[in-house]
Subunit: 517 residues, 2 copies
């Protein structure tokens, strides 16, 4: 494909994707296909000869679209939003065309420099403590990761190294100049004694980080508001110390996946400080809202944190992937990854070598997305987006509250509404959700609250969602509720089941199959 053919194809595709986005409202939000549908539509092997662009272009509607869930449909209310906007799309086109690899400053100076500046811009919008910004010159800074999972894993590993070094140093063992394969017997012996903490509401990526790292993470009970509290942490830390173990890391969730609950930072922070624990804040979804002054109090207690993460690719109109991680002492992070510390200990400049800040060495030019999004929306435009989405969630909350059959199951702080039929158990609520999703006019997923209460999650996801979509969603919920509850068969089943359905296997399985994401 030469440049002229590319131009023609790309202009055609640009119009297609603009049309797609502007008319996504008219497509069914979820597809009507069974696993394996595509095998009938696509050859079993790659073609030997080049095919033509029109054939490929035609296959987008023939092969791909029949199997799509449209995440940017205004009727998509599942999971949490994934960011998407025209400015981010433009930035990705440029990033792809430049096609550089930011393995070091020298390999693509603009790639590193723009990331440094954008992470400071973003940190300022969030009013992060100054020590997290490069501009403060105190060793802190931010980096773009691919996902909150990676941010959790690498801060856990950084905390591990810090603690191990600290313990060895206290024991008089030299540990500065590890040789790149730093699994000495001294270190290995400490690992089984290390223990990290997270709440029972923490995202499944925390359990994954434990599996990956081989480090133990102790799950702590959250309170009735699904929040991890200071006294719970303090008791657990003291128990572990008494048992001869070494507490080293706490993950606090600001905006949990299940119900957008908030761990209590002002209580957890002082416990971390007292016992020398690395406090990592995972605000993957909720963090973006904190660019609005009225939501910034959600981050009170951030001053105790060693690291902070949120995903602009969720609630800040930035396409996947763009997960923003700040650390107070970047040296803690780079010490984990630098495999040639002797040769690289005196960097040529104050510019970070981002390859030592992440699991991947190769880095795409993702800072362009943040640059385009922040400039083409402006801080005011981004705040307006947050407020609009929250207002739509509040509108839905109002509709639920006005219907005596339903209850709101968790406070509606941002764009998530957890609700349920209040006189029925988990299985009927799950049945209701299945009917709603089966009709394919809107899409939601369930969640399970700490007291094993099954809830339906309504999330404002798409930037195309408007009041009429919220009203449509509610009419769908009501329509299916009316049908479900008026069905004699179902009513009798409900009576039979009510009271004994808390652990209903269908609901649990559904919940786990999505919560495990």
């Amino acid at each position: 494909m030469g440049p002229e053919e590319f131009r023609r194809a790309a202009h055609q595709l640009i119009d297609y994707v603009a049309d797609y986005q502007e008319t996504v409202r008219s497509r069914p939000v979820t597809p009507d296909v069974r696993p394996g549908y595509m095998r009938r539509l696509v050859p079993a092997a790659a073609p030997e000869q080049a095919e033509s662009w029109p054939d490929v272009m035609a296959d987008i509607e023939r092969v791909i679209m029949p199997g799509m869930s449209h995440w940017h449909s205004p009727q998509f209310h599942a999971y949490y939003p994934v960011g998407n906007s025209y400015p981010a799309l433009l930035a990705d086109i440029l990033s792809d065309a430049i096609g550089c690899v930011g393995i070091s400053w020298a390999s693509a100076p603009a790639c590193t420099e723009l990331e440094v500046i954008m992470m400071d811009w973003l940190g300022q919008l969030l009013r992060l403590p100054e020590e997290f910004l490069f501009s403060a010159g105190r060793g802190g800074g931010g980096v773009i990761q691919g996902s909150a999972c990676e941010s959790t894993l690498i801060t856990l590993l950084a905390a591990r190294s810090c603690k191990v070094n600290q313990v060895l140093r206290a024991d008089g063992v030299a540990c500065e100049d590890h040789d790149g394969v730093a699994v000495t017997p001294d270190r290995a012996a400490l690992l089984p004694r290390l223990v990290a903490f997270a709440s029972d509401q923490a995202h499944s990526s925390v359990a994954r980080a434990s599996l990956l790292s081989g480090l133990r993470i102790r799950t702590l009970p959250s309170d009735d508001a699904a929040s991890l509290r200071g006294p719970t942490l303090r008791r657990a830390v003291e128990e572990e110390i008494q048992a001869g173990n070494i507490p080293f890391f706490v993950l606090a969730a600001i905006g949990t996946t299940a119900s957008c609950a908030f761990d209590n930072l002002p209580e957890l922070g002082p416990v971390c400080e007292r016992y020398g624990l690395w406090l990592h804040i995972d605000a993957a979804y909720a963090g973006a809202a904190c660019i609005c002054p009225e939501f910034r109090p959600l981050l009170n207690g951030l001053e105790y944190a060693s690291s902070f993460n949120f995903n602009p690719h969720k609630f800040m109109l930035t396409n996947l992937d763009c997960s923003a991680l700040w650390v107070r002492r970047s040296r803690d992070l780079t010490d984990v990854f630098e495999v040639n510390p002797l040769f690289l200990k005196t960097p040529a400049s104050d510019m970070p070598s981002y390859r030592h800040w992440a699991i991947q060495l190769s880095r795409r030019f993702r800072a362009l997305k943040l640059w385009f999004v922040m400039r083409l929306y402006g801080a005011e435009g981004l705040r307006a987006h947050v407020r609009r989405q929250v207002a739509l969630a509040k509108e839905f909350e109002g509709l639920v509250r006005a219907d005596p059959r339903f209850e709101i199951a968790a406070p509606v702080t941002l764009g998530l509404v957890c609700f349920r039929l209040k006189r029925y158990g988990n299985m009927i609520n799950d049945h209701l959700l299945s009917r709603i999703n089966g009709a394919r006019r809107i899409h939601m997923v369930p969640s399970m609250l700490p007291n094993e209460t099954y809830v339906i999650r309504f999330v404002v996801c798409s930037r195309y969602t408007e009041s009429r979509d919220v009203q449509l969603a509610w009419r769908e919920v009501q329509r299916h509720t009316d049908e479900l509850l008026s069905s004699t068969e179902v009513l009798s089943r409900a009576k039979m089941l009510w009271g004994s359905v808390r652990a209903a296997s269908i609901g649990l399985r559904l919940f786990h199959s999505w919560h495990s994401v």
Copy 2:
């Protein structure tokens, strides 16, 4: 930014990026900036009000381009290539516009299904053993990862879990139903005894995988051809067993970073089979060449492997990121990542839940890139690309060999030529490279061979590179060589240094600073 403004902006940007690519030859290949250059060009904070597209567009040339190394310039001969093509660019535009998240089959069926089919297409092009393909229905399959680093790390972790379970089972300890945080004392006690192996020529990502996982990787000496041999591995394995340790994993490199050397799979394979070791093959760069029958013998011995990885985003015209990993038993991989095994043990279909195959849960729709690239080039077009790049490297090799001042330091098998001034030591060769790069007409990086021989690496990277660029590169090398060697001062320095420069610190530092990527 509304849809009409987006259309206008995107059409303009498409023309810009086509112009950029077609005229990249006319730009200096590397920039003339110092660290921090961008701070003078960009405000210190995000704008409050939205800016206009023309202002942002104008800043591409004002702010970004002065700080770019142009990786797709036909005069860029550094590192290994990073893939880039018009078909991949188109696919990424579509992927970004769809903006789905492939966390499960249901979340975006087309995203999972196309990845399954594409990994089979690609596996067939490489003539992988049938067990690695989904279509064989024997539990194997492929997945797109972000990088070879991640592939190394997760196969290491999978091998760890397999071996630990195997040892525990042999000891009569039940270990099937781990609870998601599976760091039991039994398991923790085994970890310090585990040992993995890789050659001293393996990529730095291997040392990083060790640091991240806390698992010990023993570095083994390669032979004079920079190849890891079977007897070396066998001796090391037996030593470790005698010492009470548990060998479990071998990484074999097919196409090393330093010199594109090849570990001896036909020798290593039987050792792995005999001692029950997981053999992972890292063919990040070289793998793509094996779609050509004449290069496929490089993978002889693949039948012993448990996993195989190569990066279409290197030598196969696919934009970052797209790293293809196949495993013989996908269950080994998913067992590491599944945090809800009880609930997910009976999948609803034969479609993989790719979130259990990778560190990230969120997945972009990257299979589109492979689809567009394989269809719009065709298998023949991709093979022609490989052959053209290799022929250009051979052309450069011929020019070097014709000049008696130079020697070829490693066999030229694919697109890399390692060469050096043969009567001078490492420091003079490093000095030569610095002069060449300083002139900014071509760009190369150095490397260090096992016997501490500094070499200059010439790689055919860009799809725009032609014979005239190879000739230009060689004229640059000759011009700077003439100047360097005719300088009396340098000649006397050379005499003084010759014979004692093997460990020259400048060369070593340069080498390490790039080899550590």
